[in-house]
Amino acid sequence: MGTSVFLDRYKAMGHELRGYERTRRAIRVNTILANKEEVMQRLGARGARLTAISWLRDGFHIEGGESSVGASFEYLLGLYSIQEAAAQFPVEILAPSGGEVVLDMCAAPGGKTTQIAAWMGNGGAVVAVDVRRDRLYALENNLERTGVENCVAYCADAAGLDYGGTQFDRILLDAPCSGNYVTDKDWFKKRDIGDVEKNALEQRRLLAAAVGLLRPGGTLVYTTCSLEPEEDEFNVQWLIENNDVRLEEVSGPGSPAFTKVLGRSLSLEVAKCRRFWPDETGTQGFFVAKAVKP
């Protein structure tokens, strides 16, 4: 399909993108093993400049430094993780706390799983599931490196695993999606609308399973790193039409989600979700929705 098809879509959505926007390097301090001051001091002593990201609890942009950000003592000791700024946002919206039981449905490679564990102070339990064994090795490494001790990880389809009747307090569904060009320079060559539509169907299957696993009063955060409405707003519209959940406002950077897009009119409730556009937020493209089960 090529670059222009997607860029024209984005233009029709009000964003004249160049197709080669890139992100700033970001890290997240791992509060299980360190505090922000310690990491700032230690990396600062190595010549790195850290700037707090105002809309994140533990996130910093990082520049300079004498060694690669992924090859320092502090990284190997698990004091921080490399995690793009927008990718840190969903767990902030999920806001898990110690003592809860949380499900991370498509968990690998584990950046958000370790962030959930940190928000929980390594207490309670995080059940992390991913269907791809090759990606789970990275998750296991991340759990070990960052000192996470409250996680149970499975290699399985999160919609079909036996959870022993557990009803989760919070669920993160960071769904497999088409991704976006900001973090993948070959993205335009690889993607077409057929992929997007196929992914959207899989996302709905996982969304339905998530609602079934949530306890009454529990919170579901649905997120993708796709800019395509089929995987974002249309799926949220489908979620509220077909499941007993209500949307909650996601406040933060970026823009409200669309209620009129690609010729479709959606519920005004969908505007409670949040979109990250690369030209607005300086991040990768992202979408975040928060729903509560009555």
Binding site: L76, G147, A153, L161, G164
Partner: protein, 155 residues
């Protein structure tokens, strides 16, 4: 967990893991009851709680266990400077003359945690190599990088 006991003896540490002990293939874990309560499908389990270590060949302690032992008094430890510490984290052995100080007698066959300030970088065994005495690297935290690179290459 015989391998864990042997490892702890070799570095002179007393440590009793609290919680439910679980084996997942060649890895040994310990988990709080609240975490272990979420195990319902052992066949598809890949990780749980705290990784104590791996038992393939020589016992390789998990990073969490090393971190905890590094903070305790009792285990044999040697301290190195940042340059030597980085070489160790790159998989290299430590020459005895590069050891800044130690806790525990520097006798051959004894295992030591390798410390950079308050951080544990791994562990090794004191050995003779010709005329030289070295701390032979058994495990270091640079293993995380090597594993990550291995995963990228296999993609």
């Amino acid at each position: 967990m015989r391998e864990l006991k042997d490892f702890l003896e070799a570095i002179g540490a007393a440590y009793e893991p609290n919680g439910e002990r679980l084996n997942v293939n060649d890895r040994r874990f310990v988990a709080d009851p609240e975490v272990a309560a979420q195990i319902h499908d052992r066949g598809r389990l890949v990780y749980v709680g705290r990784l104590l270590g791996r038992t393939r060949g020589e016992f390789i302690p998990g990073a969490g266990l090393l971190h905890e032992l590094g903070r305790r008094e009792g285990p044999h430890k040697v301290w190195v400077d940042e340059r030597v510490g980085w070489l160790f984290a790159c998989g290299r052995d430590v020459f005895a003359e590069s050891i800044l100080r130690s806790e525990g007698e520097l006798t051959e066959g004894t295992c030591f945690l390798v410390m950079l300030g308050g951080d544990c970088l791994g562990y090794g065994r004191l050995e003779s190599q010709g005329e030289k005495t070295i701390l032979k690297n058994i495990f270091d935290i640079g293993d995380f990088l090597r594993r990550e690179r291995g995963l990228e290459e296999n993609r």
